[in-house]
Symmetry: D2
Subunit: 395 residues, 4 copies
């Protein structure tokens, strides 16, 4: 029998914080020992948010985040930080020096490993640079092994989660150089087209990402653009040039493929409460030695051998990459929908290949508050503490 | 004083048809003489759709589309066809031979001029090929002069309207060849950077379009995916490979720039009733002779001279192209919103240039039922009959 | 040819203020000479709200409401006040003493005529009591004649508009006393059942109102409950006891029927942007002399003669009351829908009579920002200045 | 250790059926042995509805409902019927004669116990009248004891659930007669005001119910009114006279209070996917012996002793009635919200008392697909088979 751990949630009254609290209250092996919020300080959770009357949490109340001292959480096994930009690192710098438990930062302060890069994307000096190297980027489908042994986790951003899960299986194709036929195009992964004509003859030359997020992605902010009358029956792009998540994505893409790869990324605001739908457009480039005629995949294909080759490669790579991943469902040439993953920790991924323009279109759908934030944090917690990965997430 | 014309609306109970009828009833110089619908045959317009109780249209009732004969509309000056694919050409073949009035087809049968291409995109032989050459593509900001003298108008599709209005001013940059510095980069248009370093040194190498349409774009179809419980709080791409509007867009792009240009196009279903937001991603290529340092635009720029050069070119071209166009508002580096054009015939266009990936991002917003359909049809009617372009559209 | 009037809009950046500005800009006989807002002070209207790029209003900018002096609007013919509770009377007390033009207050300060009652419902002393008697309650379908000659108009609240239009035709039935057969049951209005058995034998004993309003009804307030993520996919009652509009409604009901009548009123928040749907439940009481058998209405009725009698009375009274009213459509036993009146100045009213519980159910639908606020203000302006009632409102 | 039961779901592709299947798949002690649907016959559940890829149900596929034979489900312990009106009784008449397991009918055929009444409300003769007496009305908070021992359950309608949970605690007040002071006003329940002045001096004289349901309440019907473009940004009443749920509600109210009580009920269509908000307006009548002055409750009240008396009675009765009911939360003078119960099996109930009109306003919120349908069915199953009441429902 597993023993329950004690957890603290610092900044628990935002959308992500509350989602996390819901998951923790229902989790068999986690207890919530401390919950903080400056706004709701002193209020019982059930009184502040009536939904919690449905859960067994009568004794839980908010303490003020600003008045927390080390003693308030010293006895916990895990601290979740759900704080706005710059506040996680302040909290860490002030309070976590002596803490012997583990930390999962759902905020954005510890995702970028390079302080220079942090300053560039977040417009401020990092004040806890000494801790940066200890944080593992907590995308379990990519870094599962490291997460197991991590003390500190930087929980990924919602957009990066939806993007990186599309790109990770294709890392071998990502290079600005001409295609050169390196792994993971092993014969095992590509049984059919493992011949010289395809293997190493396909590259992703360019990545253009168009992401659409529900309004909760912006957090609980009292701004005109997030009012019902502003967001409802509306849609638009925002931050079209230097969204902060780009730095995080490019860092992780470099981790995946070994070289720098600049991406174009454009977020949009969807008039839904939660959910992200991401369209990743990859411009393909076929190598000089690629020869359609000799490809074995295409014997029965009507649509031309490029179609068959891309199908073979994409489907083999995704099946291989996610074969042991419970929470990522590759659905082939179907298209995912936000509704199919709503209120779940799942990511659905589908694709289409447009041979007229050599564009590989990857589509992913997640719930931004779960797989994009609190659900992923619980998944990380489960892995860190040896619980089943899906513990408390199998709704 | 202008004399009112008599109009007929064939297929007037769909979303577009009803929007057109609303506009016609309020139009000072147009009367509605005939309205047809198989579904609502025999019903008064006000009884079928209670909204029309608000308008002065007590005498208007639906006749069955299938039972219309030439005599029913012979005396009209203008016939609007609002019929599903393949039915416009049937109606035209059967009924319009002797008609001396003008025709605006809001359906899709006469947009593609080449019967081969029609078969390819619409999966059926065209049965009124003899009439194809007489149809003018009715995008007034591009073909205004031809529309003035047209007898037959093929009203553009909603997606193509939102896309072509983004690309038309940039036609001179569209070429698969290396940049060669041709018009419209005249000195008048580009006063500052009209020098050899920019002029002719910039091309659009690739176009990737991500469009999002409200549910009314699909028409009034009793399908599971258009039910409230399916579309609400949902979002997804659909038809990711061969959407029929691609043929129409590539045809018109070729008209604009003089050469074939294949585009990647992906439509998505937005959980709003009406409105299209289109993101056009243009990959830029700078010519070999382009020299940042000698560009005069950049003296005060902090972000690098490519930014200044693109700004100069884009803003000059859009201002020039739309300077006399009432219904297209170029808003520079701001981003348009669906809400700003809802229930209007306007198109708002903004842009951003990402110098990290040489991507020019163009964003447009229209109301799919107005500028994307019925409003544009009225605009065309106004032009064809010598009324003010905005007559009846100035809500 | 009518001459255009000069108008000022004080407090023009809220939902109602902007709706009013839209209508004024398009109005043939009204010019907007002054527009104020503290929040957007100094900004051009088009820059603050991109929708206005669609309208011909390039020169219009906001001045700060707080810095307005008499000279800023002394030359205007009409001042619209669109200010929060208590601010209209402050503006009036400070600025309107010498003003020779007319005033339409879209706020709530001058609707309640009795200062005691004002204090009771609004929790504050009225500071311009001397002006109260000069304000006419601006519901044109009820007070049209007085509005023609009014200098000051108190524009009705949105809920009261939706309620009073349901009750006005039935004023003769409203009494706490036993039915006594007074007007308007003249033979002309009730030709069939004008006999002694029905006439004067029917009363409304009790009124229970359940109203549902779109979110814009709350105004542009940066509060958590009006955020998209709070209001979307949600619904609830609010202010269930002493909503301020009750005082206004009971005052006007007393005006209509000559005696005090306490009503139960419960407002609810609808997850739509605009629109009010009101269900008015009237408990009917039949007088002791009422005799079903001798009622002439019922010869062909299957559902019992009470049904026939109520139908006769309700339909006669509504048809009679609204026969010259363009903007109120009585649709009989059909049920109105918000969508049918959206973006219009119309009110649709339908009814059903439940003979099992003697409940007359009246249903009304309006657009809260138009017939419930800015549209009605323009309708009042038109009447006050001798324009056609529907001038500028015939969308 | 409890043993898992085998269940069958007949008609499992509607909104309620799918919600039930979701709950069953995650239920620790229930297996899904048979799933039927005519529309999706032959398809795997995961292929028909991609959401189910998230759940461990790879082997589940739909059989055609029309081709089911007794042998298909003879070995199950429980059959759920999720069929449209009239089809449950056909299925029961044809297939359930020999079935030794239990049955929960989520449809409406077995809720009304009297065949005459069934014909009146459902317009058709009941064809399985012999089985009617064996069905227990499955509202666990009211009939929990009977449900434990039931073989057949008629699962309540969604509206009746939201209404009856408001009225059940007040059953002692429900009578058309003058107040007579009967139970449940025992001293234990009303400790303070158990004196002669209140006890038995308060009655509910009239009940008027205004209910609002999300679109899923109508089921998955391909009708124009349930299209996104029809329901979105819209709201209206429907079926304002003889909604079928009235018969069911009046039957159960009679069960509760021992005498017939006619109610006025008006359903409305909310533009949300799921959720019901019900406003129950009870007109109170105080008995002749009621004496405000001698009521002990009121010593500190500012708002008058009727307020205090009603507060005392309502709060005591609700607290007493639901003290052991996990899924009903009485929240006093707060107002419930749909969002607080969404995706849960909970019902939240609040109240307000308007002493100006003697109106007690009760407000309830449920998720129509859970507490209003599938969740309640699982709750019934749990009770019938001796599982914990909340097993599989504790999201």
């Amino acid at each position: 029998m597993l023993k329950a751990i004690k957890t603290a949630v610092i900044g628990g009254s935002g959308y992500t914080g509350l989602e996390l609290v819901k998951l923790l209250i229902k989790h068999k092996y986690a207890n919530l020992s401390l919950l903080t919020s400056n706004t709701y300080s002193g209020m019982a959770l059930q009184d502040a948010f009536a939904y919690f009357k449905n859960l067994n949490c009568a004794g839980i109340a908010f303490k003020a985040t600003d008045s927390i001292t080390y003693n308030d959480f010293a006895a916990t096994d895990l601290v979740f930080l759900c704080l706005p930009p710059h506040q996680s690192m302040e909290f860490a710098a002030n309070h976590l020096k002596d803490y012997r438990g583990k930390v999962i930062d759902i905020g954005s302060d510890f995702r970028i490993k390079d302080p220079e890069s942090y300053r560039e994307w977040y417009g401020k000096d990092h004040i806890a640079t000494g801790m940066l190297k200890d944080f593992i980027y907590g995308l379990p489908e990519i870094n599962g092994e490291q997460i197991k042994h991590a003390k500190y986790i930087a929980n990924p951003g919602c957009y990066p989660t939806s993007v990186l899960l599309c790109l990770a299986p294709l890392a071998g194709l990502l290079s600005k150089n001409e295609p050169v036929g390196k792994e993971p195009f092993s014969d095992k992964i590509l049984p059919c087209c493992g011949g010289p004509d395809i293997k190493g003859q396909l590259q992703i030359a360019d990545i253009n990402i168009d992401s659409k997020s529900g309004v909760s992605g912006a957090g609980r902010k009292l701004k005109d653009e997030y009012l019902f009358c502003s967001a409802n029956e509306n849609f638009y792009a925002y931050g079209p040039l230097l969204h902060r998540h780009i730095g995080e994505m490019e860092q992780e893409i470099e981790e995946l493929c070994g070289s720098k790869f600049a991406i174009s990324f454009t977020p949009h605001l969807l008039p839904v409460e939660r959910g992200i739908f991401t369209s990743v457009y990859c411009k393909l480039r076929f190598g000089a030695s690629y020869n359609e005629k000799s490809c074995c995949c295409d014997s029965n294909s009507k649509t031309g051998s490029k179609d068959a080759a891309v199908k073979e490669i994409v489907e083999s790579l995704f099946s291989w990459y996610y074969k042991n991943c419970l929470f990522v469902k590759f659905i082939g040439q179907k298209i995912p929908q936000i509704k199919d993953v709503l209120n779940t920790n799942f990511c659905h991924i589908g694709y289409a290949y447009d041979n007229r323009t050599d564009t590989l279109k990857l589509f992913s759908a997640i719930d931004n508050l779960l797989k994009g934030a609190a659900g992923q944090a619980i998944q990380n917690m489960n892995i860190m503490f040896g619980f089943k990965q899906e513990e408390g997430l199998n709704e």
